[in-house]
């Protein structure tokens, strides 16, 4: 079972504790064999890092860095020039594609364009269908009235015929 002092044991070994904190750890270590053993293990493993000796860095590093800095500056400059050139090209293309006012701008709107626009409107189409329905209704009424007129005519003729028979 690990003691709670292990959280501060490393700081104690590194001399990073206050005097009071360090005294508390020291007193604990005198009494705790496990922690003393663990402190030894911490020290030995830390010391083993010495095997990771590293060779010296390349001596001509400064020259290489300057070369990279110059390369990067050239790349940034090239990108900037390319971006400006691309923007100008796009502007020129768009400018050429837009028709000039004195040549192609129409003075009057074609009539069929207005019809096409109105027919493409959903509300207008619905109104027109309702109008057609109204026309059918009117036509039906006319037919009925014609039948009634014919019937009345027949009735009149019948009356006239019976009157004529009566007089004969």
């Amino acid at each position: 079972m690990a003691c709670s002092c292990r959280e501060t044991l490393v700081a104690y070994l590194d001399g990073e504790l206050s005097t009071a904190e360090a005294d508390a750890v020291r007193i604990h270590l005198e009494a705790c064999e496990d922690c003393r053993e663990y402190a030894r293990l911490l020290s030995r493993s830390y010391d083993a890092l010495r095997y990771l000796d590293v060779p010296e860095a390349p001596a001509d590093m400064a020259a290489g860095i300057r070369a990279r800095a110059r390369r990067r500056s050239r790349v940034v400059f090239a990108y900037s020039v390319f971006a400006v050139a691309a923007a100008l090209a796009i502007f020129a293309i768009v400018r050429a594609a837009i028709p000039r006012g004195d040549v192609l701008i129409p003075t009057a709107v074609p009539e069929n364009l207005v019809l096409a626009e109105s027919s493409s409107n959903g509300d207008d189409a619905l109104d027109q269908m309702e109008l057609l329905g109204d026309i059918d209704l009117v036509a039906d009424v006319d037919v009925v009235e014609e039948f009634e007129m014919l019937a009345e005519l027949d009735a009149i003729m019948d009356v006239e015929f019976s009157d004529r028979e009566a007089t004969i």
């Binding site: 501060t8 293990l41 911490l42 890092l49 095997y51 990771l52 060779p55 990067r72």
Partner: protein, 205 residues
């Protein structure tokens, strides 16, 4: 105990003065800065990645970033603080991203046909040739244990062990506080001790 430097002390720091001179247009001052820090920067990165070529490339990037600060530099701390901060940031970001791209496993070969990461470590050059192989094996054992420690814990441990930075200086480099560094180093040291326990008890180290 941590040794806090008095406020404004960095202005009398020779390296900071070099950076001020470089910002004022003295290109030779930059050469001096590279010369003063190249081994430290290279050493930190090399111990972090375990690869000489990657360490060289990343070290150049550190100094390139310092070079690009030329026109905007205003001293607010010692130059070493800035150098350590850039180095640790690069280690934690660029190197980690590169590792993800290459999907490097610590146990797998480094790259398609390369040697294991630990085997690329140069070490113990002062030892006798007969001991070189043994020293190389020891370096690989230690590297394997170190490389398995989480990134921030590992960089904190490297800064403490090899650069002898105080907890406060490590906190500045990692842009955190001293308590956080205390926790990072405690966990790092415990991980290292647990990883090396068997080899230490067997007398391999």
């Amino acid at each position: 105990m941590t040794s806090e430097r008095p406020r404004g002390d960095y202005l009398s720091d020779p390296d900071t003065q070099l950076m001020v001179r470089f910002a004022e247009g003295d290109e030779r001052a930059f050469d001096r800065i590279v010369e003063n820090f190249r081994n430290q920067v290279f050493g930190i990165i090399h111990r972090y990645v375990g690869d000489w070529a990657a360490a060289e490339d990343c070290s150049q990037e550190v100094f390139l970033r310092i070079y690009r600060l030329k026109s905007s530099y205003t001293p607010t701390a010692r130059l070493s603080t800035l150098v350590y901060r850039i180095t640790t940031n690069l280690c934690l970001n660029v190197v980690r991203d590169a590792s993800k791209r290459q999907a490097v496993s610590l146990d797998a070969p480094h790259g398609p046909e390369g040697p294991p990461l630990g085997a690329t470590l140069e070490h113990a050059s002062a030892e006798a040739p007969g001991d070189a192989l043994e020293a190389r094996e020891r370096a690989e054992m230690v590297w394997k244990a170190l490389s398995r420690i989480p990134d921030r814990q590992r960089i904190a441990l490297i800064l403490h062990r090899f650069e002898a930075l105080s907890y406060a200086e490590i906190a500045q480099a990692l842009e955190t506080n001293v308590d956080a560094v205390k926790a990072l180093l405690s966990r790092a040291r415990q991980s290292l001790a647990d990883a090396l326990r068997a080899d230490l008890e067997a007398g391999n180290l």
